[in-house]
Symmetry: C2
Subunit: 218 residues, 2 copies
């Protein structure tokens, strides 16, 4: 099976959570919008990313990983284990949406500059209350059997370090299992190769993780 | 199987999407936090709701419905159909989160009164851009074979009518299939009985759908 990932070409964004799974598993896939430089939305997907797998069109990041997990050897096949991992992946999706809203608390369709004051308020509370709550929750899961959820947690930590370097350098040491998980994932041979390649889009100020120093901890 | 729903007792909230499925199917369940008046969070769930099904603990609303769907006769058993419905349910979850953020754009932990100005800005754009986009997407799916997704769409329309009566009365007529879907769902015998019962918590100002006239269309 050759998969087709459909996602914005210039950012890591939500598509990156799918790319990490495909790359770590050494799966064959086309990154269609990047390769063709043509955007092809699909009516079955409210928004990208969506995955094409044969005739199937699968929208929503967590849904894609639910589908790919057992096929790529990144999730057990039992229903109980799959539901457990999917519950965690959906919580990562919630976390990611909150990260996005630190710089866009009013509307995605407005520039950051037009919601800067609100972004400052939202970020302050996110860093004080929400970030530690999510980190605490996932710290307990960091040592579980390897799965696609760990790839996504790696991406969250990478992104948060880019967006909030000061806040992360202060709070991360309290979550040593997540730190070790991050390093273990980064050292996986296929993933390390991917991360060093041109296929890995660098973080930038159009993505979900953005670095605005004024939003970081002081 | 007797299911256990664990969710805040005083609001419809996210738990209601699960209740509607259980009630429409005539399933046996306990609404534990309401019946015992005791909150029992579970470490596997970042936040309520979660469902207990035998030994399984299933967090995240859409995950619960993914599990319950085929068991309650509210979803086909084929993987393709389940992934399709789940993609839609996850889009409803995104929509619901945006509704929540119309009155709490800065933080859930602050009072509405402390983010009222930001709420006005966010609501204005939500009603102008996002609401019609979601309605358009689901209008196309309203006539599909009945499933738990339709129960959730019923709940979205009910809630939006409560929260934004002026905006909904103006825009709803453009989405006649969703209107008819709403009425068809409300007339389902077991559901009609549930909606008229005391088990249906009325909408209120602690829930996700809240009616603040200043946030509605003018």
């Amino acid at each position: 099976m050759r998969y087709e990932l459909h996602y914005w070409p210039g950012i890591q964004g939500r598509g990156e959570f799918v790319r990490l799974a495909l790359e770590d598993a050494g799966a064959k896939y086309r990154d269609v919008w990047r390769e063709s430089d043509r955007l092809s939305p699909h009516r079955q997907a409210f928004a990208p990313p969506y995955l094409k797998a044969g005739r199937l069109i699968i929208p929503q990041t967590a849904n894609i990983l639910l589908f790919l997990g057992p096929r790529l050897g990144l999730a057990p096949k039992s229903e109980a284990a799959r539901l457990h991992l999917h519950g965690q992946q959906l919580t990562i999706a919630d976390w990611l949406a909150e990260v996005h809203d630190t710089h866009h608390p009013i509307a995605s369709s407005l520039y950051y500059e037009d919601q800067k004051r609100e972004a400052r308020r939202r970020s302050r509370i996110f860093l004080a209350e929400r970030l530690p709550k999510f980190m605490r929750y996932f710290e307990r899961e960091a040592d579980a059997k390897f799965s696609y959820v760990h790839l996504s947690l790696f991406q969250m930590i990478e992104g948060l370090r880019y967006a909030f370097p000061r806040a992360m350098s202060r709070s991360e040491s309290k979550f040593s299992r997540l730190q070790r998980l991050h390093d273990r994932v980064a050292a996986r041979p296929r993933l390390a190769k991917y991360l060093a390649s041109e296929r890995r889009i660098p973080f930038n100020q159009q993505g979900i993780f953005r670095h605005y120093p004024e939003l970081d901890a002081r």
